[in-house]
């Protein structure tokens, strides 16, 4: 018993404040959009140069000049605006996005993020906008399964994968719990299918009680 990706996305969506400007990273975080009703007033940013991005484009709505950061065809909503990459990243770096949601290989208890490179020697590295988002957004939310396929926890005392950003993650949404990374330590909440004791045993990160 644990949350599906879709259920994690719904939890993230639920925590995004009304009217926030939000960037959803490529991959899983994209699905957060499906849980943000128009009444949320949330404005989606895509770093390739659009504010107020709409849902995926289908059929005749597909326009090769209108894509998201994952290079999938999308739509624009009324009240959108286009800008170039320098302006888009200035917006990100300048702290104007309220929230970004990213995937991760690992997150440390201090909020370090590793999500761009496995460190494997034959891997072709690619970073895209990950470091810019991690550094720039006011709040960085991570969405991931808490354990890798081999059972190793991905919330760790220290990241072993190459870092994307230092001390940048505020919250980690996983299939079994949500973690707040605070100055005092890590707080686990909203546990699903796992007891606090079990969670504490499987992680090497000390947990504070919520």
């Amino acid at each position: 018993m644990s949350l599906s990706r879709d259920q994690i996305a719904a939890r993230v969506a639920n925590d995004i404040p009304h009217g926030a400007y939000v960037n959803l990273g490529i991959g899983q975080p994209t699905s957060v959009a499906d849980h943000l009703p128009p009444a949320s007033g949330v404005v989606l940013h895509t770093e390739n140069g659009l504010l107020n991005m709409g849902p995926a484009a289908r059929g005749e709505d597909i326009d090769e000049d209108l894509i998201n950061a994952g290079k999938q065809p999308v739509t624009e909503l009324p009240g959108s605006s286009y800008f170039d990459s320098a302006d888009s990243f200035a917006m990100m770096r300048g702290g104007h996005l309220d929230v970004c949601v990213l995937g991760a290989f690992q997150v440390s208890a201090e909020g370090d993020l590793a999500n761009w490179h496995t460190g494997a020697p034959d891997a072709v590295p690619a970073v895209g906008g990950a470091m810019d988002l991690a550094t720039g957004a006011r709040s960085v939310f991570v969405m991931m399964t808490l354990f890798a396929r081999d059972g190793a926890p991905k919330l760790v005392p220290r990241c072993t994968y190459p870092l994307t950003g230092i001390g940048c993650v505020d919250r980690v949404y996983t299939d079994v719990a949500t973690f707040e990374l605070t100055a005092d330590g890590v707080v686990a909440r909203d546990l699903v299918g796992i007891t606090p004791t079990e969670l504490a045993q499987r992680l090497e990160v000390p947990l504070l009680t919520a």
């Binding site: 404040p17 009304h18 009217g19 926030a20 400007y21 007033g41 404005v43 940013h45 659009l50 504010l51 107020n52 624009e76 009324p78 009240g79 959108s80 605006s81 286009y82 800008f83 990243f89 200035a90 917006m91 990100m92 770096r93 300048g94 702290g95 104007h96 996005l97 309220d98 550094t135 720039g136």
Partner: protein, 219 residues
């Protein structure tokens, strides 16, 4: 967070605090947010640092704010004008502090604040009085000066049209410092000629996206 459409200029400038750094748009009178500056005068905030290209014309607007003793310091490129007698008197009698900044450094320092750039090396001003005491470095055989961001607590700017999400367009050379100031302040207040419905402005022609705008008032 979303822009709020205000009914009055007074409501739009209500949050300016004593001691605030206020970025004021305009080049001469083009793009000058006259209604917002007048409302700020009424509102009463004092001990202000005003960042603006000029330092007031005649006896109204910025000049009135200066005359009433609300401004501790002016950061600008061109205070001296034919009708800047209010600033000139205060400056000569030592009642207002002046930080004179080359116009491009003024724009670029605000751009840095808005773009999250910690500091930058610029050739402008190297070897002049205005770079005295500043860190320098030779880059590609040319002396560069290290300049730091100018961040506003508040920006007061004028635009042509806004939609209800705060997206802005400007008109001709009245654009000048508005777009960069909107990015450089924690709280951006805009006076516009007209507020239009969402979907009215062409997304390709929006100059300041609503993400940079907090309060809008049609005056």
């Amino acid at each position: 967070m979303s822009a709020r459409i205000c009914g009055t200029a007074a409501e739009a400038v209500a949050e300016v605090a004593d001691g605030a750094t206020v970025l004021v748009g305009g080049f001469g009178m083009a793009g000058m947010p006259v209604g917002l500056v007048d409302a700020l005068l009424e509102q009463g905030a004092s001990e202000l640092t005003v960042v603006s290209n000029n330092a007031g014309n005649g006896d109204t607007g910025l000049a009135a704010l200066l005359a009433r003793g609300r401004v501790r310091k002016v950061v600008c490129s061109f205070p001296r004008q034919s009708d800047s007698w209010v600033f000139d008197d205060l400056y000569r009698s030592g009642r207002v502090e002046l930080e004179l900044v080359p116009q491009g450094n003024l724009a670029e320092r605000m751009r840095a604040a808005g773009a999250g750039i910690g500091a930058f090396f610029t050739p402008t001003g190297a070897g002049t009085q205005l770079a005295e005491g500043k860190e320098t470095r030779e880059i590609d055989g040319r002396t560069h000066v290290l300049e730091h961001p100018i961040r506003g607590d508040v920006a007061l700017i004028a635009a042509h049209r806004a939609d209800r999400k705060g997206n802005l367009t400007y008109r001709k050379t009245a654009r000048n410092f508005g777009p960069v100031m909107a990015t450089a302040a924690r709280h951006t207040v805009v006076q516009v000629g007209q507020v239009v419905e969402v979907g009215t402005l062409d997304p390709e022609s929006v100059v300041t996206p609503g993400i940079y705008v907090d309060r809008v008032v049609s005056l």
